[in-house]
């Protein structure tokens, strides 16, 4: 028993044990993925056009989709070429802002979650509602294209 306790003590992180807080783990992972998306946009160049992910929709149908040029748009936004980014994909900026805002939300909400333990439940509800709303606003053109495709 003592051995077990010692083992768990050795593995624990300083401060509050984040393993007991799924919300914090989820926030860290999601923030990491968003950072990876930004890194992907930063690493691959819009000039060289060396993006590994190609549009599957275009490959299947032979026609460009609403989200075509999003990677180019992201890369250009990161490089500060906003006007050019709009030319690649008109919705690039709003999707980029969604990811940027989500990154900020993950960091700020995690901080508040640890700082104010009494308001955790309200914080999570507010986070879910806010994120869903931002998602719907940012991805509305894509959702509309799907729904119009289904309805004909």
């Amino acid at each position: 028993m003592i051995l077990c306790k010692r083992k768990s003590d050795q593995g624990s992180l300083p401060g509050p044990d984040i393993r007991n807080h799924p919300y914090i783990i989820i926030n860290i992972v999601l923030a990491g993925i968003i950072v990876l998306i930004f890194a992907y946009s930063g690493i691959f160049s819009p000039v060289k056009d060396n993006y590994p992910v190609k549009c599957i929709h275009e490959k299947l149908t032979g026609e460009p989709c609403v989200s075509c040029g999003l990677s180019h748009s992201f890369s250009l936004i990161i490089r500060g070429k906003i006007a050019e980014a709009y030319q690649w994909n008109i919705y690039g900026m709003r999707v980029f802002l969604f990811f940027a805002l989500q990154l900020v939300i993950r960091i700020v909400f995690s901080f508040f979650y640890l700082k104010y333990p009494d308001t955790r439940k309200e914080l999570i509800i507010f986070d879910i509602a806010g994120s869903v709303l931002i998602f719907l606003i940012a991805f509305f053109p894509f959702i509309r294209s799907i729904s119009s495709g289904i309805l004909g």
């Binding site: 799924p22 989820i26 992972v29 549009c55 026609e63 989200s67 991805f139």
Partner: protein, 167 residues
């Protein structure tokens, strides 16, 4: 031991929820929406396994249920992307078939026009034997040939008549 299974269920729940959220976001993007079906299924499987663990140990299931719902919705969106792509393919196929039909019609007309004054050579080769048919399809020649044939026919019929009278 029970604590260990509880933490396994919780970890599964976290993994399933993260996978489901990412799948959901990518499923909405048409460029990658079709392949989002794979992580979506993974999220559903993880959530289902986690739920079975949770029901055995009576541990909290909120995260697992959320992951399962988000995963199912994400897979449905991904499937709808496939459906939308299929519809577009159908539309473009119809458009192409119409265009192809017009092209075939034009080619047919052009070929017929060219053939009116063209020489045609047909070669048939089978088991080392060769058969070659050469024809010169000229409208004037054809008309002349036709006239000659008609004359010949007339002569033949006259001969037949004489034969009959002789009898």
């Amino acid at each position: 031991m029970e604590e260990k299974t509880n933490s396994t269920g919780q970890n599964l729940g976290i993994a399933a929820l993260i996978t489901a959220i990412i799948t959901f976001v990518f499923a909405v993007i048409p460029c990658v929406g079709i392949i989002a079906i794979i992580p979506g299924i993974i999220a559903i499987v993880l959530a289902s396994v986690g739920l079975s663990h949770a029901s055995r140990n009576e541990s909290p299931r909120g995260v697992l249920i959320a992951a399962l719902i988000i995963g199912i919705v994400a897979v449905l969106i991904s499937l709808s992307q496939i459906f939308v792509a299929g519809e577009i393919v159908k539309k473009t196929e119809n458009k192409w078939s119409g265009e192809i039909r017009e092209v075939i019609k034009q080619v047919q007309e052009d070929v017929l026009r060219d053939l009116e004054d063209a020489s045609v050579s047909i070669k048939v080769e089978s088991n080392g034997e060769k058969v070659e048919i050469n024809t010169h399809l000229n409208r004037k020649d054809l008309l002349e040939e036709l006239e000659e044939l008609e004359e010949l026919e007339e002569v033949n019929t006259e001969e037949d008549d004489t034969l009959q009278t002789e009898k």
